[in-house]
Symmetry: C2
Subunit: 111 residues, 2 copies
């Protein structure tokens, strides 16, 4: 099935996972997945959170991201990918002027 | 953790899933996921296959794809996404002159 993000309403999610400012996202959700295209404007962050029952895979479309992954920091550029396996923690942050746009998949594996 | 596809060797996979020509892919694999950036040149296809224990989420980066999904056909453009839930079948095909480049995640859920 096709997911056309342009046909999904964009929602602004303030303080997502306890982060700063808002994440804007067009999101498809079923019982096994969240599939989204998200944007973090300058200064916006997704707060640090642990994937206890799911993983997350993020592909950077534009902008430059800073990822806190467990106790490390990663810089993410367009075409690069971040993988947070089940049991790990991360926080995506945009410290640049340019919006950070990304595609993300969150598969749900259960406990 | 960061996955930088440029640092992963590109492999040419002929007749992938019984398809035509080859898929070129840079792929990260662990027990729960396949995460890849793939290319289909003109005339290349991924053969029709069923996701019995996994799903697949494909995000189109460039080019134009034709997707056979169960008994329907979808056209996929850059920025669009295809989702094949567990239990469904699909075949990605490139009938255009331009290469079809995509990002894909295959989460493994088990039987």
């Amino acid at each position: 099935m096709k997911i056309n993000f342009e046909e999904i309403e964009e929602k602004s999610l303030p303080n997502f996972k306890g982060g700063e400012k808002s994440m804007e996202a067009r999101m498809y959700v079923d019982e096994k997945h969240k599939i989204m295209r998200g944007t973090l404007q300058k200064g916006a962050t997704i707060g640090l959170h642990t994937h206890d029952t799911s993983s997350e895979i993020i592909y950077i479309l534009s902008g430059k991201g800073t990822m806190i992954y467990d106790d490390t920091e990663e810089t993410l550029l367009p075409g690069e990918c971040h993988y947070c396996p089940k049991g790990h923690s991360h926080s995506l942050q945009n410290h640049q002027n340019e919006p950070l746009v990304f595609f993300a998949v969150v598969p749900e594996f259960g406990a």
